[in-house]
Subunit: 308 residues, 2 copies
DNA sequence: CTGAATTATGCTCACTGGGAGCATTATAGG
DNA sequence: CCTATAATGCTCCCAGTGAGCATAATTCAG
């Protein structure tokens, strides 16, 4: 039972590099003529890279000039059909999540709105967007089109659990997979050679990269609640409203302003600097900074997002 | 920036197969003469296994006869030195967590107490065990032995955060890595050719398998709080005390009995069956069963473990 | 200079969920 | 019948959190 045999596979490291600006979460994609956008992706240098993460950092630096701060391994994708273009060799991708303060779009790459990829994940508006309404309608048809009562019940169940209420932001990946399984995504059509679906489900990426992006969003939303990762996306000093907008952008929901302030101040997550923000309209806000020692005081310091 | 190059690596699938019996969490290991125990590990069948998870299920079934229920990908380990025995080819392991009801130890394998591997992770006793006390003392020496004040402060910080109070069960992996970095584990000695440490830090496994086990424990403890995974480890019907003991075994802490009952009943996680447990001493307990529809009602149904 | 608009900040009130412990019930074994 | 043991029921208290009102400190239009 010991690994007398190991499979030889082709491995790449794919990065979901996330930033938040103007209240929108964004991720880095690269374009190639005549192709869908793709996540930045690079090889491991088997000789030089002592660890996978170092390999990721190395090629992200060399190809985009970005020095990423927070990096976390996401998931390893190795389905047989994930790269139908690539012949019989199994193509394995180790996906990583990286967080950066937004900078100029680096070489060859551009920032793209996460909710342009996954429009149904933005629940910040009271009313669902037209796209989301259409997707929900298409899901309802899919439920109704089940061949028998059992299948219909099971489909209804899955839609109810994943699309709420209550809305669970962390289920982003499951929602993506449900839409795939309901044949509502162009990726499904591409993978099976079927005609494309009629609903608009946002911008698709190449290969399974949109799925990787959904994985990243799920993970990031989860992490938010128990580790102080938001601060990786913010400048050293920020107002509480900037912090709140960043959290809201990632979580995809809106929060109560006064309560957010109370939560974040009383939890010891931040401390005031005495400085004031350059004021535009209204009372100028105090600038805060992250308070790292919170990690000594509270076991799981995060911004408790009330997914209801 | 697209993967024009992918690295060729040797990949295995390693499984942390967990069960709970007699109030102790256990995992499956395999022995080979003259070697430390190892996690069961097998290759991907590049042609037949459509997905990595199916590959794992296939070889676990064929080698151990176990049909695992819940399976979840844990992490991908690809450090250069993780398999110093294996030559220049990079050895990548995709670790999986699998949960089963405990059965007879299957072919060639045996169950081993998780806390025999990670003794400091069991915080159920009011008093720390002798091993744990020794480990804490060794950590204190390591802090004090830092070359300068900055290093000592940073070490003290890490020890304080990870070994509490407050105790955070989810930091099992970080604690393992801290002990490794403090040169208190035989794995470190083995990897660096140093003399073995003098403290007893529990049973080591081959390669980086104890680290993979620590990863599994961290993940499982986290999952417990927001997904109803405990029930994968229990029979169809169980008393609330059995449920509580299973949770406690995994979480490594004890819980207040009446409050646990209240939590688990009021949350809709279980429902009574009207049946009574075969009684030994004391009032016979009612048998409960998992109530799957809880997932439709509550976004993140789990057993909220109060790591303080 | 004044008032409206805008944003930050302070505070209260009600509710809920969880921590702790006391009380009662149902069984086995003598 | 009495005691030990475990299950179950219930209360009290407190911290956290959802909701909203009130006040402070600015900018900007007139």
């Amino acid at each position: 039972m010991t690994p007398d045999v190991a499979a030889l596979v082709a491995m790449t490291l794919d990065a979901v590099i996330v930033a938040v600006s103007q209240g929108r979460p964004r991720l880095l994609v690269v374009d190639e003529p005549g192709q869908l956008p793709a996540l930045p992706s690079g090889p491991l240098d088997v000789e030089r890279d002592a660890t996978l993460e170092l390999g990721l950092r190395r090629w992200v630096r060399s190809r985009t000039g970005l020095e990423v701060g927070y990096v976390e391994q996401l998931y390893t994708f190795g389905d047989r059909d994930r790269r139908p273009d690539a012949g019989p060799q199994r193509q394995v991708s180790v996906g990583y999540l990286a967080l950066v303060e937004e900078t100029e779009p680096p070489l060859d790459a551009r920032w793209i709105d996460v909710y342009a990829l996954l429009p149904w994940e933005d629940q910040r508006d009271a009313e669902p967007s037209p796209e989301e309404a259409a997707i929900r309608a298409a899901l309802a048809s899919w439920v109704a089109a089940g061949p028998d009562a059992d299948v219909r019940r099971e489909r209804a169940e899955r839609v109810a659990v994943n699309f709420g209420p209550p809305w669970d932001g962390i289920r982003a990946l499951e929602r993506y997979e449900l839409l795939y399984g309901a044949h509502l995504l162009p990726e499904w059509a591409r993978d099976t050679g079927s005609p494309p679906p009629s609903v608009d489900t946002g911008i698709a990426l190449r290969f399974d990269h949109r799925r990787i992006a959904a994985t990243a969003l799920s993970r990031l939303r989860g992490k938010l609640t128990y580790r102080p990762v938001v601060f990786e996306l913010l400048p050293e000093r920020f107002s509480l409203l900037e912090l709140q907008h960043t959290v809201e952008a990632l979580a995809g929901i809106t929060l109560h302003k006064q309560n957010f302030r109370r939560l974040v101040e009383r939890s010891g997550l931040v401390e005031g600097t005495g400085q004031r923000a350059r004021s535009q309209a209204g009372r100028p806000a105090e600038l805060f900074r992250f308070r790292p020692s919170v990690q000594r005081e509270r076991p799981r310091p995060g911004v408790g997002v009330p997914y209801r």
